[in-house]
Subunit: 94 residues, 2 copies
């Protein structure tokens, strides 16, 4: 993840609606694509965010273009560990 594309929402520990609103605002600002990213335990939360935005806010108008999963090495020295990642690319049908 060296390149930081625009329109990325990172999912952390905030309430679901905080992220759902962020994704919605991206699309309402004229963008047609938004990527939702998360790591570790937040992966489940990211899927929840995407599903709420799709089903409740944009019924039928948002398409999941791609879902990628992967692994990232976090930390340094003895504290290095692998963390799973997810990237969900959403796109708007106009």
């Amino acid at each position: 993840m060296s390149r930081a594309p625009p329109d990325v929402v990172f999912i952390g520990k905030k309430p679901l609606m905080a992220y759902a609103t962020a994704v919605m605002m991206h699309f309402n600002s004229g963008s047609n694509q938004c990527t939702v990213k998360a790591r570790g335990q937040s992966i489940s939360h990211a899927v929840d965010v995407v599903e709420v935005v799709r089903n409740r806010f944009f019924q039928g108008k948002l398409v999941i273009k791609e879902v990628k999963i992967g692994t990232e090495l976090l930390g340094e020295g003895d504290e290095q560990r692998n963390v799973s990642t997810i990237e969900i690319v959403l796109s708007k049908n106009d």
Copy 2:
């Protein structure tokens, strides 16, 4: 999910290695495809399982064919709620 295809591993609350072993055994029994499914909080766990199997057990030999996310309605009456789901289709490169 009315149709239960073969070679499906459902991820729950067991330790990661229990599921990683189940996925590995599917492939070692001659099957070329395996689907990993999970719901709710277990979604993160499912991604961990897939990443461990891919990176540690089958380096370079397993391909993620498809990742699908969705929503399922669980429970009855007042207890109905939406739960996010994930399906990860793995396929073996021979």
